[in-house]
Amino acid sequence: MIKLFYSCAEATRLISDAMDRSLPVGGRIKLRAHLFICRFCDRYRRQLQFLRAAVRWDISRLVEPQTDPSGLSPEAKERLRRRLSAHSE
């Protein structure tokens, strides 16, 4: 039997896939139909897009010292300085 509708489990997988590849026409139509009747999957789709927009918007927010206090060890920094001066001569 050909299934007419996707389950939410299938739909979530395809929502993600559609962000990386173009779906075959049949899949695209079935996904659209699913999103039309399922507000949860529609939210899911918008939230994944928000997530993408967030990390692409300003990734530096993820590596700010306030968020991430980690850094190079003093020894590593010293090594870098030495290598840079060795190579820049």
Binding site: S7, A9, S16, D20, Q47, R56, W57, V63, D68
Partner: protein
Amino acid sequence: MPGRPRPSEAYVEPRRLSDPQTWADQHGDYLFRCAMLRVRDRELAEEVVQDTFLAALQARGRYAGQSSERSWLVGIMKHKIVDQFRKTCREQPVDDPDALGREMDNDGTFDEGGHWKLDQTAPLDWPDNPAGILERKQFWDILKHCLGELPPKMAQVFSLREVDELSTEEICEAMQISSANLWVLLHRARKHLRQCLEAKQFGRSPA
């Protein structure tokens, strides 16, 4: 004087690179944190930073001053990270990506019929004004925490795809995985991050 820009406004001094001797202090920590986000290993991240600086040193003459010194370095680092993945993948083959996230797939998000569980896993209506959310430091702390929960390979492909905006072909090539595996990994990464954000940021108490 016609044709000559007034120094106070029109004329902008072309940007120059600073002395490479100061790079480690100026940009070392920042680049290191960026690298850690992708490779998740201190030693590898230090190596990436070092490779980046050395490549930058060689490419110094080609710096056109169109971007800041830091974004120029970050651009170089992207290539170094991909190189790093290529190297590590050759040395140690990728674990079975299916096994990496299997437990995440059977995490009880859906019922037997494959549908959301109402009042448990069904996505909430997140408040509007995403821009407002992005301004808050708390959001980034949570996102960072959620990223940290992903298995390393999953976090790596997510960063390469969503942060560095590499194409799926480039990622498959660098990580030596099939596109089918990549799509599964990305799906699981996004699903987990969404759930984690919802639980921590948008207030669904854990089921």
